[in-house]
């Protein structure tokens, strides 16, 4: 929260503000519930890290989507295009730097991966700019048309990707220093999953900082609650939305790179395949809530990995089941911000 002025004394004894920690406690509760079921501690550690890494990547991708919906009620079913495009751009960049990627040096690996991520974010952000102007803007306030035209935009985009890179899947091997696992006792944890978890936490921390410590963040939080009032205070909500949309697209591009490296192969359909998962996450989290999106993504990641190991058939619909259960408990999601 933004600090008070020096002229304002500390509040007198006031009732404590209740913090709703129950959704947060779901994460350790589910993880602990899975512990006896997995049979061994090392398997549980491996699955938990896999779930956290998957959740973090989904969070990076979905965070922009939830803000875009919160600010302008825009349902962007074309978000998957940004994921796919990010992964393909990074593959092209990394493909031209094979010497760096194959080197056993982590620094040389990062000299290929970091520019690939930045270029992917830049290009996808630029595509997001055009997407918002050409596809989203004409259908503000028309949800049915938004669904149709954004899905149409994604189909066209995916076909263009096939024209440029081909329809076949392309391998995206992990750089040498990042591939392989670290052993914690008997538990093997892939290095990349640790890195993905750290990157996800960093993105979350930066987003929290921006949202709570800057005026732009304040405006985004206010706009998600009541955009008409934000306009009445003199701010152009359309411009704010435009900026958030581009940032969200760039983050989806980054998530696409990370998802591609997580799967170690990319296909033109990868974004479309993950699209449904994104909407499940933002519905579970509560529309417009970054914190809710973070917890929702981690829940989805953990549940997908635990059920994939324990009951593969259940894993096919585990995310839908999770969403249904959460909505039965909290019909507006874990931390709803948008109440209109």
């Amino acid at each position: 929260m933004i600090s008070s002025t020096a002229t304002v004394p500390a509040p007198e004894a006031l009732p404590k503000v209740k913090t709703d920690l129950l959704p947060l406690l779901l994460l350790p509760a589910i993880a602990l519930a899975a512990l006896p079921l997995t049979g061994s501690f090392s398997t549980w550690v491996t699955l938990t890290f896999a779930g956290l890494a998957m959740g973090m990547i989904i969070f990076i991708i979905a965070s922009g989507l939830t803000l875009v919906f919160g600010l302008m009620d825009v349902l962007n079913f074309g978000h998957g295009l940004f994921i796919t495009l990010g992964a393909y751009i990074a593959t092209s960049v990394i493909g031209r730097m094979s010497g760096y990627v194959e080197s056993p040096s982590l620094v040389r690996n990062l000299m290929a991966v970091v520019p690939a991520m930045l270029i992917a974010m830049l290009v996808v952000g630029a595509v997001g700019f055009v997407f918002e102007r050409v596809i989203i803007r004409p259908v503000y306030g028309q949800p049915l048309k938004q669904i149709m035209i954004t899905m149409g935009g994604m189909i066209v985009g995916v076909e263009l990707i096939k024209v440029i890179w081909g329809a076949q899947s392309i391998p995206l091997p992990l750089p040498a220093a990042i591939s392989g696992s670290l052993l914690f006792g008997d538990a093997a944890v892939e290095k990349y999953r640790i890195i993905a978890t750290v990157v996800g936490l960093l993105v979350f921390a930066v987003m929290l900082w921006v949202l709570s410590r800057t005026k732009v963040g304040l405006l985004i939080r206010a706009g998600v609650q009541d955009r008409e009032m934000v306009e009445s205070l003199g701010y152009r909500i359309g411009l704010l939305f435009f900026g958030v949309f581009i940032a969200g697209a760039a983050l989806a591009g980054l998530g696409g790179v990370m998802w591609g490296m997580y799967q170690q192969t990319i296909t033109p359909e990868m974004g479309g395949a993950i699209n449904v998962l994104l909407f499940i996450v933002i519905i579970i989290g509560g529309l417009g809530s970054v914190g809710g999106c973070f917890i929702g993504a981690l829940l989805v990641g953990l549940v997908a990995n635990y059920t994939g190991f324990l009951a593969p058939k259940v894993a096919l619909f585990s995310n839908i089941l999770l969403m249904v259960l959460v909505l039965l408990w909290r019909p507006q999601g874990l931390y709803p911000v948008v109440k209109r």
Partner: protein
């Protein structure tokens, strides 16, 4: 009479298939409080929202300081110096009281950037805001939220305040606090257009009054004249009640 600060001439507003305002004529003089009275559905809130550009002007003209603001984008209307306190107060409930105030202050990025002297003056008007400064606004009572809504509108000097039913749903003691605050605000020669249904509240504050019915202004004059004229009050309120039934 000199050019009014705000001038509405024959303003019509349509929302979808509904024709709400049917040629509103209204003048708000600088430095005065003009009260807009009328029954539910008379068009008072629509008039304020049309001035703010939240709904487009279908016909007619709205000028502020002699320049047209009809159907201008809401942020532009606001930046001309018009602050709006909506009927639902427009409080950002997940933000703290401090953050709500910051949003209304042009160029202020942190609480330290707010005008300290003005803030003290506002705390004098609404002491509860000091107490709950770092609290989420959603935890405030209805009266405190209304205080915050008005305080937010005056965190910087404004040329015109549009306030929609500030007494709605408030306890009598809080209404008295609000009257005191508006009286002090009037001493700063802030121009205010106040929408009210509570005539008792309105007559203690208003300099001028306009009564709306059926999307039109059916009476305009001084509040003192209306307050003293029981027959006119009866006529206007009777008219309103009759058309309401």
């Amino acid at each position: 009479m000199s050019e009014p600060l705000l001038n509405l001439k024959g303003v019509h507003t349509r929302i979808g298939a509904y024709h709400i305002l049917h040629g509103v004529d209204l003048q708000v003089a600088k430095g005065e409080m003009t009260v807009l009275l009328g029954r539910n559905g008379a068009g008072k809130t629509t008039t304020l929202r049309t001035i703010m550009g939240l709904w487009p002007t279908a016909e007619g003209g709205i000028s502020f300081q002699g320049e047209s603001i009809a159907s201008r984008p809401t942020p532009e209307v606001s930046r001309r110096g018009i602050a709006y306190v909506p009927e639902n107060m427009g409080i950002f409930s997940d933000l703290t009281v401090c953050e709500n105030m910051l949003l209304a202050a042009t160029g202020a990025k942190r609480a330290e950037d707010l005008d300290a002297a003005r803030l003290e003056w506002i705390f004098g008007l609404f002491p509860a805001l000091r107490k709950f400064w770092q609290y989420p606004a959603g935890l405030l009572s209805g009266g405190q939220k209304q205080m915050l809504a008005v305080a937010r509108a005056i965190v910087e000097p404004r040329k015109l305040l549009l306030v929609d039913e500030p007494s709605k749903g408030l306890a009598p003691a809080i209404i008295q606090n609000m009257i005191t605050a508006f009286r002090e605000l009037k001493q700063t020669e802030t121009t205010i257009l106040l929408v009210e249904q509570n005539f008792n509240f309105a007559r203690q504050l208003g300099d001028q009054v306009a009564v709306m019915d059926g999307g039109r202004v059916v009476h305009a004059g001084s509040m003192a004249a209306l307050a003293e004229d029981d027959a006119l009050q009866q006529h206007l309120l009777g008219l309103s009640l009759a058309s309401h039934q």
